[in-house]
């Protein structure tokens, strides 16, 4: 492989890594606080793109507002999912929550099929995102430049919220010890709602960046990034935001690199992600980087 090709793959991998990181954080945050794997997270990701799509297509909003609105609506969606599918089951056996999460995932997917239609739609791509820069033989999409910037900003905002605000303190307390936090007067439901809002908002950000990069949206589009981001969260140590970020990069790079370096195994790439998850869960359940 030429050096150029290597750089190309590297830049793709890093860009993808950021996207997975944004989604993976949502999985980690919810798991850290609720010990629940939010199966519906990938589908919330998918809904964000449709929110943006219809905001532009139906309501003719300028893309900046449409994207922002989509992120907000998705955050609200995340809160609603928790409110109606997970909150009633707080005190139920884990299996109930798991089934609820799976059911929610299917519900969102099929709702999208019924309401939006199963055929892929073309996502609107503003002018500024269609430019491609060529640097020493490597094609860099403008989206690939914007992605890290937005992602880093989002991560900084997240870090600020978690470590500098009372809500963030509450979130950390709950993930350490649910019962004590409850007894200390922390409003559990409100804090959990905020967690979902932030996680979903981040996923929505990732979703729009994703749709700008791969502008075909369809109801099942959340499955592929969802499972990869989930794998990233697991490998980084589920419950850990830092782990989710690092895991996101790992998965992003691996996704691109495996196809690039081992084209013969390209058909198996979906399996690799699960092999990775299984190995991590069996061998180092706290993740490759340990717990946060």
């Amino acid at each position: 492989m030429t050096f150029n090709a290597f750089l190309q793959n590297l830049s793709n991998g890093i860009s993808l890594g950021f996207l997975f990181a944004l989604i993976a954080i949502g999985y980690s945050m919810v798991y850290g606080i609720l010990n629940l794997i939010n199966f519906a997270h990938g589908d919330i990701f998918m809904m964000a793109t449709f929110f943006a799509y219809y905001a532009i297509a139906f309501f003719s909003l300028p893309w900046g507002i449409a994207f922002f609105l989509a992120i907000v609506l998705t955050a609200v969606l995340g809160v609603l999912v928790d409110r109606f599918a997970y909150r009633p089951l707080r005190n139920s056996p884990r299996i109930s929550c798991l089934c609820s999460a799976i059911g929610m995932s299917f519900l969102l997917e099929n709702f999208a099929i019924v309401v939006f239609g199963g055929r892929p739609k073309a996502f609107f791509r503003p002018e500024v995102f269609t430019k491609v820069f060529v640097m020493s033989g490597v094609r860099i999409h403008s989206v690939s430049i914007v992605t890290p910037i937005i992602a880093i900003l989002a991560l900084l905002a997240l870090t600020y919220i978690i470590y500098r605000t009372k809500t963030g303190l509450a979130m950390r307390a709950i993930s350490r010890d649910f019962d004590t936090a409850n007894l200390m007067g922390i409003n559990i439901n409100k804090t959990i709602a905020v967690t979902f809002a932030i996680g979903s908002g981040l996923a929505a950000t990732g979703a729009i960046l994703w749709a700008l990069r791969y502008p075909q949206i369809y109801p099942y589009m959340g499955i592929f990034p969802g499972w990869r981001a989930f794998a990233a969260a697991i490998m980084g140590g589920i419950g850990s935001i830092r782990g989710a970020t690092l895991g996101g990069f790992l998965v992003g790079l691996l996704t691109i690199m495996i196809v690039a370096f081992l084209p013969a195994l390209a058909g198996y790439k979906d399996a690799f992600i699960f092999v990775g998850v299984i190995i991590v869960l069996l061998w180092k359940p706290k993740g490759l980087f340990g717990e946060d």
Binding site: L89, S100, F106, A271, P285
Partner: protein
């Protein structure tokens, strides 16, 4: 005496089996093809649901990998019951490996093979999952099922890859499906009501206490996975020969999801509940198919709403999980004793010792 009760139960159960045989005979002769297809699906869903319930409901190991075992069963049996000619037609890109290329066996033999291979894989999947709990077990089993799907998608020389297998001969009929359904229910019921079944349930209730009482976790969890996978393999094989076409995506998570709905709606700890739910959902699936296809109502062309079926199922699952956690039957089973108590409520003082 417990043994006397069991013997009596067995006699009464034979009666039920006889009734089913009579029913199947009549059905084979006089029902139309559509109804027969639904009856076949009912039986297959019973096989799949009951086998899943053994793992998820009675042993408390929440496995999401059932579709994987079905896929293995479907392909394993197809590789044996397909004639060499059909094989050649299908495997036109890469020929099927030997000896399968030239072998053709009876449906019966292929079923046994399917069950055994699926059981073996069930054992291999269950073994590493021993120490995993709840969500993690679900993820790992899901992962195994996905890996199986991807591998099948790529092994052209064995499975014909994404092209799948077409033109499978229809061997599945009411005798096979209901016969195996009865077998599944009997085997699982006998396991569950035995000392081994109590051990499985104790694992579900409290693993550490179960171990402390001498229950070997490895043996019993493997038992659940292996037996569950065996019947899932049979179910998959029957399904394959019913729908005549299989490809790696036939046995997707969607199918596992339907089984989860069946098991939850019927009640995680109840075979009876699973039977009822499986039949109901098999029928519902077919009826709802109408909703997804375009219809002509009074001359108005109403376009079908694809995705509606699964949306309804998702809502059904959510409703049960949120409001009817126990499902239809919860932990309760049909029992001859229970029936007599309802019919003859006054005779409540009959002692165990007879």
């Amino acid at each position: 005496m417990i043994s006397k009760k069991m013997r009596n139960n067995n006699k009464l159960n034979c009666l039920v089996i006889l009734l089913v045989i009579i029913f199947v005979t009549i059905a084979e002769r006089s029902f139309d093809a559509y109804v027969i297809r639904i009856l076949n699906l009912c039986a297959i869903y019973i096989i799949l649901g009951v086998s899943l319930n053994l793992i998820n409901g009675f042993t408390g190991q929440f496995s999401l990998g059932h579709a994987g075992f079905m896929a293995i069963g479907a392909y394993a049996s197809a590789l044996l019951y397909m004639s060499p000619q059909i094989k050649e037609v299908n495997y036109f890109i890469t020929p099927l490996i030997m000896p399968f290329r030239v072998i053709e066996t009876s449906f019966f033999v292929s079923l046994i093979f399917a069950g055994l291979v699926a059981a073996l894989v069930g054992f291999l999947v269950g073994a590493p999952c021993l120490r995993l709990k709840g969500d993690y077990l679900a993820i790992v089993t899901f992962g195994f099922a996905e890996i199986i799907r991807v591998v099948f998608n790529n092994l052209q020389s064995v499975t014909n890859g994404p092209l799948g297998l077409k033109g499978l001969p229809i061997y599945t009929n009411l005798w096979w499906t209901w016969g195996i359904a009865i077998l599944t229910v009997l085997v699982v019921k006998n396991i569950v009501n035995s000392s081994y079944g109590r051990a499985l349930k104790s694992i579900r209730e409290n693993e550490s206490a179960a171990e402390a009482m001498g229950v070997n976790l490895f043996f019993h969890k493997s038992l659940a996975f292996t037996v569950g996978a065996f019947f899932a393999g049979l179910g998959g094989a029957l399904l394959g020969s019913l729908v005549m076409t299989i490809d790696p995506n036939t046995f997707s998570f969607l199918l596992t999801f339907q089984l989860i709905v069946i098991v939850i709606v019927g009640g995680l700890g109840s075979i009876t509940g699973t039977i009822i739910a499986a039949s109901a959902i098999a029928v519902l699936m077919e009826l709802l198919r109408a909703v997804e296809a375009p219809m002509n109502i009074f001359g108005l062309h109403v376009p079908g709403i694809p995705g509606m079926r699964m949306l309804i199922f998702a809502i059904l699952l959510m409703t049960v999980v949120l409001f009817f956690k126990q499902g239809i039957m919860g932990n309760k089973e049909w029992s001859w004793e229970g029936l007599f108590k309802i019919i003859f409520p006054k005779q409540r003082d009959i002692k165990e010792g007879d």
